[in-house]
Amino acid sequence: MRTFIAFLLALYLVFFAAAAFESFGEPQGLGRIAEHYAAEGFEEVGAINLVTAVVVTYRGLDTLGEVSVLFTAASAVILLLSVFPLGKPANKPSSIVLLTMKVLPGPILLFGGYIIAHGHLTPGGGFPGGAVVASAALLVLLGCTQEVGFAKWLTFAESMAGFSFAMLGFWGLLKLGQFLNNSVLFLGIPGQLLSAGIIPLISAAIGVKVASELSGILVAYRCGGGKE
């Protein structure tokens, strides 16, 4: 009965959402902003992947804010779990986990680094690459029985990455009078690895920041220092 009432209520909400989206009609083409990005983005920022161009340069200020939201959530998790620690993991990892945690983190880190480095060329960039790197940390944490060594470096890596993202923005402000201007570095030939101005650098900063924040959350869940 309760589920049925909840279903009706949810159906009501979703129906209005669907009706609102239906009233937009089928989109016939790009909007004005998207059209500018599609037409000029290639020349302006030198990145062939327009999504990364939008995330990192055109709306880079929003991404800076978004990274701070991520930071706030991660610090809330870490704060809560350091005040109320979950205690030591109860069960011992199986031999499969123990073996794979010795073999797989290297390839996973390599793949994550590849995704981060090719953010301006292929789908990817700092956010997905950072999440892939954090999955290597997850694998290590699944097999851990005591406090892990890299935990204390995470805060340092995270703050350095955030600082360098902001500094790359101020570089543009000082040199060309525009925050996060992409032309402070050479744009290069679009499609090559070393091109697209500061986009690879910002991708790397975002990648390090996302990876260290997500691993920080995971470490707080399991095998963190904390007060036992």
């Binding site: 589920t3 989206f21 998207a34 992947n49 327009l50 999504v51 995330v55 809560l80």
Partner: protein, 119 residues
């Protein structure tokens, strides 16, 4: 059935499942799971708003033969969803921590037995 319709239907289905789960489920972790389902539905809905049938991914490489403005889908919602996914991960991590700590404090994860805030 066109891809656009599939995207819209799956997003609405996920949103519906998630909302029902948030309202009707009793275990805190199930509510957190339902929340992530609903946020996935919203992400798919945002991607759908930028989808244009027959166009390619917004990557300007050699496979784009015409002018880019008529050949690629809208990159703006995709960029928005990219950030939205990461925020969703962080928020659900926080949600799970609060759920775990609450259930430990009260000795139960069943919302029907959490009567401290009821009047």
């Amino acid at each position: 059935m066109s891809l656009s319709l599939v995207l819209l239907l799956s997003s609405m289905g996920l949103l519906l499942t998630g909302l029902v789960g948030i309202m009707a489920k009793k275990h805190l972790l199930r509510i957190a799971l339902a929340f992530t389902l609903a946020s996935t539905g919203v992400n798919i809905l945002l991607v759908w708003t930028g989808y244009l049938a027959g166009r390619k991914a917004p990557i300007i490489d050699a496979s784009i033969e015409e002018i880019a403005t008529v050949a690629v889908v809208d990159p703006v919602p995709q960029a928005l969803v990219l950030t939205s996914i990461v925020i969703g991960v962080a928020v659900s991590a926080l949600l799970v921590v609060v759920a775990v700590l609450t259930s430990r404090e009260l000795g139960t994860a069943d919302v029907r037995r959490m009567r401290n805030l009821k009047w």
